[in-house]
């Protein structure tokens, strides 16, 4: 199956958008093609840019990608309005990101291993999880269970999506049940935490995997940094809630630099995560 159209659009956009981008960390101007060639890492200061889902998929996949759940689109169940009505925010994010929602899910191969793969994108509503993200993630696990394939999910999320209220909160429940049913059948799942992974996503499927990998420097936690600072009324140290901090406290399996991420995943899949031995002969 060929790549879906939106992936092409997105790729063309980045390819035909040369020029310069300002690094949010060091403030230096970076030539876009250089940035792309360097895995979206600032060549000057080593800052990791937040990746678009399409670029992430292009970096990982051997070739084709078959999307699932792409047709599931958000409604406005709460008739939500704050500074702007919710549908307006969705429309502008759709326009800016080229995405229909905050996660892209589907099937492809990495290093010859066929896997289900989900990539969250912070550029759409801060990667927040509403009903569509919940539906697509659950569907990914359900389809992968039918196909008896492993799942890899890249998380990048500000947590549950406020504009969908308690319906968004219930997506923690839906995705948890989907992960549990999938793993109960002897299938395995790798979670990759990228910057940032917080709130309802970190408190559900992102931390329910067989192996939890974090991309270097990623901010990972339950409560947001600002919330904690307001609660304790003091500044937090710079490394607080960073991937390296979590590794030190025993919360994750490994921290991997972005250029080595794909090879690391292939190695992990090879240990049996891609195809558990007992599932092949039908018993443990």
């Amino acid at each position: 199956m060929p790549m879906p159209d939106w992936l092409r659009v997105r790729k063309t956009q980045t390819q035909t958008a040369p020029g310069w981008t300002k690094c949010p960390s060091c403030g230096e101007l970076v030539y876009r093609p250089d940035l792309k060639a360097n895995h979206e890492i600032c060549p000057k200061c080593d800052h990791y840019f937040r990746m678009h889902a399409a670029d992430r998929l292009a970096m990982l996949l051997d070739g084709d990608f078959t999307e699932v759940g792409g047709e599931i689109e958000p409604g406005d169940p709460l008739q939500w309005v704050d500074k702007r009505p919710y549908p307006e925010k969705l429309a502008s994010d759709r326009e800016k990101s080229g995405l229909s929602e905050a996660v892209v899910a589907g099937f492809g191969a990495i290093g010859g291993f066929s896997v289900g793969i989900g990539v969250m994108d912070f550029h759409f509503r801060g990667g927040t999880m509403g009903t569509v993200v919940g539906d697509r993630v659950a569907l990914l696990f359900e389809r992968a269970r039918e196909r008896r394939q492993a799942v890899i999910i890249f998380s990048a999320s500000g947590g549950a999506r406020m504009e969908e209220g308690v319906l968004a909160l219930m997506q923690l429940a839906k995705t948890t049940n989907a992960v549990e049913r999938f793993r109960r059948d002897g299938l395995s799942y790798i979670s990759v935490l990228t910057d940032p992974t917080t709130g309802g996503v970190s408190a559900s499927f992102a931390f329910q995997a067989d192996v939890v990998v974090a991309e270097a420097h990623a901010a990972i936690g339950f409560a947001g940094r600002r919330v904690i600072e307001q609660t304790i009324r003091q500044k937090l140290p710079e490394n607080f809630q960073r991937a390296e901090f979590l590794l030190e406290h025993g919360a994750i399996d490994m921290v991997v630099e972005r250029p080595k991420l794909r090879d690391t995943l292939v190695r992990l899949l090879d240990y049996g995560i891609a195809a558990p031995s007992f599932s092949r002969n039908g018993s443990r």
Binding site: P77, L78, D82, G165, V166, A206, F207, A223
Partner: protein
């Protein structure tokens, strides 16, 4: 200051005067019945004014009322309760009270989130905000319930999970995620009741059950109204507006198909008649546990999967404003 407490002041004064007049009439043997009747009419009028129509913000404050029955009071009213402590790793979180219990003669495993009734207790239980060690105790007890075949009953009352440095160091996210996972894989019936505040993932960790019940004036929300206001309007004082937008009342939750049953509170709120409230909640829990207990493990797990699976874009997209606001 809690606006519900403020509004109740007039009522409480009237109540006192009625009692005084009644006492006087009895002890002095004078007929004050017309004055008493007039005050009672006045009392009923004010009561209707206050509680007849409560805004979402008032509901939030009912849920947080300092005199509202806490989880410990529900646990105390079970036939029997034997507390089990600790997460076996680090600490015993006093914000979680859990253990073996009997409800109407049936063996269960009961767990509650304990909000403090006064400053002293609040300091001890961290204002009901559970830490990772608390969630790990919960996870342990969930596992124990499945092993022994005991139905799980939880009483939810928390603003949210503890947002402190220590909680982050001890992986609060993982602690909550593993409680959810334990409920997903459990082989026994589970029933939760939101008795006060159902705040975010910190509440759901005890709430992803086969049946969800809610006391009428409890709330259940993706974020506290103050936090939501701070994020959305950059102004925490807009919490009343945020409370309305969040659709956090028991009627909203029932309409969304998340909550299975709303337990009515006595007029004026749970704290005005604690006995009746607790009795009603335990009766509702009992009949839900009884219904679930007839199901096989497979039926329970299928039902649980479907319950949460259908709360999604496809089912909520077609919902219209009148349906949500009726």
């Amino acid at each position: 200051m809690n606006p519900i407490v403020d509004r109740e002041k007039g009522l409480l004064e009237l109540e006192k005067r009625i009692d005084e007049l009644k006492g006087l009439s009895a002890s002095q043997n004078v007929d004050l019945s017309s004055q008493i009747a007039a005050l009672e009419v006045e009392y009923a009028k004010i009561q209707r004014e206050i509680f007849g129509t409560l805004s979402p913000w008032h509901r939030v404050n009912m849920a947080r009322h300092p005199k509202r029955p806490t989880a410990a009071e529900y646990l105390a009213r079970l036939d029997q309760f034997d507390e089990l402590h600790g997460d076996r790793h680090f600490h015993d979180d006093p914000a979680i009270i859990g253990g073996f219990a009997k409800l109407r003669g049936r063996r269960i495993l009961a767990i509650g989130q304990q909000r403090g009734r006064d400053t002293k207790e609040n300091l001890r239980v961290n204002f009901g905000m559970v830490k990772p060690e608390g969630y790990r105790k919960v996870r342990r007890l969930f596992g124990l319930a499945s092993r022994l075949g005991l139905p799980i009953v939880t009483f939810i009352d928390t603003k949210g999970a503890d947002p402190g440095i220590g909680s982050e160091e001890r992986a609060q996210s993982e602690a909550i995620a593993s409680c959810l996972y334990a409920l997903a894989e459990s082989t026994v019936p589970s029933v939760s009741v939101v008795v006060g505040e159902g705040g975010s993932g910190g509440a759901l960790a005890l709430g992803m059950t086969d049946r969800i019940l809610m006391l009428e004036h409890s709330i259940y929300s993706v974020a506290g109204p103050e936090a939501a206001a701070a994020i959305l309007f950059a102004d925490a004082t807009k919490a009343p507006e945020a409370a309305a937008s969040l659709r956090l009342t028991s009627e909203d939750l029932l309409r969304f198909g998340i909550v299975d049953e709303v337990v009515a509170e006595p007029l004026g709120g749970a704290h005005r008649d604690r006995e009746t409230t607790i009795e009603r909640v335990l009766a509702a829990v009992d009949h839900n546990v009884a219904q679930l207990s007839t199901q096989s493990v497979q039926q329970l797990q299928e039902g649980r999967y479907e319950k949460y699976r259908r709360i999604g874009a496809l089912n909520t997209k077609g919902m219209t404003a009148p349906e949500l606001r009726s």
